[in-house]
Subunit: 332 residues, 2 copies
């Protein structure tokens, strides 16, 4: 295990210190646990947005804290849901009196713990609602999930509901656009290499030197199949094909595209994937409104990528284009 860490059992705590020290202009650490939140939280009269989950997916979710996106992120241990009481503390920290929306990636542990936190906050009289993101078209149920998994498409949900909240919308309205985003976003990923959870010390799965896995999850959960590594163009086609089978685009309709790196894959390779993604979508008559290429939802040091398509109507497009200022996602 070759990692820049101190103690495998304290990677999340060390990381949180490093993030809070780096970016006081965006965020600060709560005294109530492994919670990072907007430096100006709670913002009075604005719906607050809370997300989070297991660590190891950076910049998700702490990197999306700030103006136009999240109010707080709750950081669990690596690949492990944060506890209900941590999430509950985050809700209390950021509630500005207008309610709190929880944005949950669809994993059984996350959904259960965020729901319990919601119930705890309800008893305090805080208005809380939630959306569950399940953008991964690879598999219907998986190791940690009933239904589809939530992956990189979650970042678009942060962005669009965050923009709506920043406009002063009600909790119901913010939830409505979050759900509309969930309904219109699809993703699929692949891996070239596994990753190592620091406290475990060993790879979470193995792949032969000439193998890749298609449809893998962001915790190394099994995907659809393994095969010999193909050309980047063919990989892009295979991922997009499965995504487009699950969405309907009429000619001239618009999309936002995300080519997301799992962390170990250099930007050069992500752009090579995007070359083919762009060609295919253009051929199909889909207008690409914006393209995001980079690391948005990672899996420790795993090499690989995912492709996300978000179908845009006028409302989603306007909200996507609103300014946001966070570490991991700036719209200027």
């Amino acid at each position: 295990m070759k990692k820049l860490i101190n103690n495998p059992n304290f990677v999340v705590e060390d990381m949180i210190q490093g993030i809070a020290a780096a970016h006081p202009e965006y965020l600060r650490k709560s005294t109530k646990g492994n919670i990072l939140m907007r430096s100006d939280a709670p913002v009075k009269g604005k719906v607050a947005l809370v997300s989070g989950g297991g660590s190891g997916h950076e910049p998700a979710h702490a990197g999306y804290i700030g103006r136009g996106m999240l109010s707080a992120a709750v950081l669990g241990s690596v690949f492990t849901s944060p506890t209900p009481d941590q999430i509950y503390e985050a809700i209390k920290e950021v509630d500005g009196g207008k309610g709190v929306l929880l944005i949950i990636k669809n994993y059984t542990g996350d959904v259960m713990n965020f729901d319990m936190a919601k119930d705890m906050a309800d008893m305090d009289g805080i208005k809380v609602d939630s959306v569950v993101v399940n953008d991964d078209v690879a598999v219907e149920d998986s190791t940690f999930t009933a239904g589809r998994r939530g992956i990189a498409g979650t970042v678009f949900v942060h962005k669009i509901s965050g923009a709506k909240a920043e406009q002063g919308a009600s909790l119901e309205e913010v939830k409505r656009v979050a759900e509309k985003t969930v309904a219109n976003v699809r993703s699929m990923g692949m891996a070239l290499t596994p990753c190592i959870v620091p406290a475990a010390g060993n790879p979470n799965f193995t792949l032969k030197d000439d193998e890749m896995e298609i449809g893998i999850g962001i915790h190394g959960e099994p995907g659809i199949h393994r095969e010999k590594i193909k050309r980047a163009d063919d990989i892009a086609e295979e991922l997009l094909d499965k995504i487009l089978k699950d969405m309907t685009f009429r000619n001239g309709e618009e999309a936002a595209v995300m080519v997301n790196g799992m962390s170990g894959t250099p930007l050069m390779e992500l752009y090579i994937i995007n070359k083919r993604v762009n060609e295919i979508l253009t051929q199909k008559g889909i207008n690409i409104h914006r393209t995001f290429v980079g690391e948005y939802m990672t899996s420790l040091e795993m090499a690989g990528c995912s492709i996300t398509l978000l179908k845009l109507d006028r409302e989603l497009k306007e909200l996507l284009d609103e300014k946001s200022n966070t570490l991991g996602f700036k719209v200027v």
Copy 2:
């Protein structure tokens, strides 16, 4: 070699297509070769900034094209300087009548080819000047360099001279702040793993499972020494120690910090490094004005990091804080 590529000999061309397709709002490809430039180039009455070098360091340098930073980047083959005629074409593409500043990382091939391009442009009557960045304190001369190497500190030179150019300053003034930045920036890096140049197909060096190399260059050039992997805190101390031996800070003076990932190292680990960097600088009475943690100057899929310190006076600080809008570096 596990890479998301098509043909190892065309990774740069495929990448350029992918970048240009993704970001028409920032940049476009020149018809004159492997040159990416501001979508609004040439900008009349503004000094133009041209950088570049071998590919494999993304987002450097194409990711720094845009308002407040570069006018164009010239993309050589992987780890190989662009040719003089490519650089010359880039100069002609972006010259807006007020002159062109070349920002060169100190590698023998780059310096030679950028200088030849400057001579070619001189003969056309284009006003061209250049600065050479040599921020790497690890070694005095190395495999590809006479004198110190230019690494991640180059990004601060792009930012600060870009801000000055955007203000309408003369070529002499833009060059002056670029040189002032070079004089005040120091970096040092380390690696946990090698990387593989696609056309070569084999790692550029080897490290044992428990080894790291301190002072390595961004092309895998030998550093200072190899040793057993240490704790992140100890690595941060070792790199900073060497950097601070080469700079003088009086109590209360300000710095910008960059913790740069070589690409294979996840953001989590970079923030763990930053935790200790922040502690050490704070203990030494150095005021940290801004911290940048992420991938700014990479080395294909190499795992490792570098630390950069930029000592700020009032002028450098104001220019660093000016707005910039590029793929890889946004100041909002």
